[in-house]
Symmetry: C2
Subunit: 174 residues, 2 copies
Amino acid sequence: MRVLGIDPGLTRCGMGVVEGEAGRPLRLVDVNVLRTSADEHVSMRLVHIERGIEAWLDEHRPDAVAIERVFARSDSSTVMGTAQASGIAMVVAARRGLPIALHTPSEVKAAVSGSGRAGKAQVGAMVTRILRLEAPPRPADAADALALAITHIWRGGAQARIDAAVAAAGRWTP
Amino acid sequence: MRVLGIDPGLTRCGMGVVEGEAGRPLRLVDVNVLRTSADEHVSMRLVHIERGIEAWLDEHRPDAVAIERVFARSDSSTVMGTAQASGIAMVVAARRGLPIALHTPSEVKAAVSGSGRAGKAQVGAMVTRILRLEAPPRPADAADALALAITHIWRGGAQARIDAAVAAAGRWTP
């Protein structure tokens, strides 16, 4: 299974592609951070993000897209741009009929580090270990995108095993 | 000048097309509210909104698009969906190279009613009067979309007159 993780943002939008399945070593396919300038109108920044994600879907052909779920937080001036970028990411993937999953930051932290309150450095360290990289991906948006893809593969794998177990149990029902 | 006003929203997205110029009577071209169901995944709801706006741009060929500027407000559970819908509206218009303007709710209320604190009913009443309609457009999202288009034409008109005055003054400079 190949998953594109997207950590949406207007200034920096992390994209990470990971391949593998739950219970096996995972492989980093590619990682990048789309950047747009605050000098541009927000509409053009969103168009650049749309094109950047489109280009990656063309290049890497993922089986699913995992996007960070964005919450309204009054303490952040960037949350509206993040919400808009996440909406663009969803539309680009949905137009192609790709499965889309939204994972919260806590779910991602818990999946890769065991703690929903893990810090950026801890997430980066775990992504580095899980993907057997030589150094943590920089900036943090890149590591977060990879963590999203890892989370998706692991959670999907667990769900697939449960589904398989249920199906197997069903076959043994008299 | 023909302007498409968009009052973005995930459940109801108002779209209103108004034609005319500042200082002249304005004309309602068309008004509609795109609706998407909460039963659908947010990604598909956004795709429906994208298609609905695309269809209207094809049909009505506006010269500009006026979109309500969305603010982060912790007191609203719908603000993230609204932000995502506004992002889609911006991208659809920007992809076609259309001029995009964002107007705040206060600017729109002030433009059509003289008060930045006008209520929904007052905005609806003024839109009805300005466009010489028989009844206020329903639901409020429809009236708000038309108010956005009216605001854009009037503000654009004022700006154009200032630009013209500056240019005329420039011609008389020795």
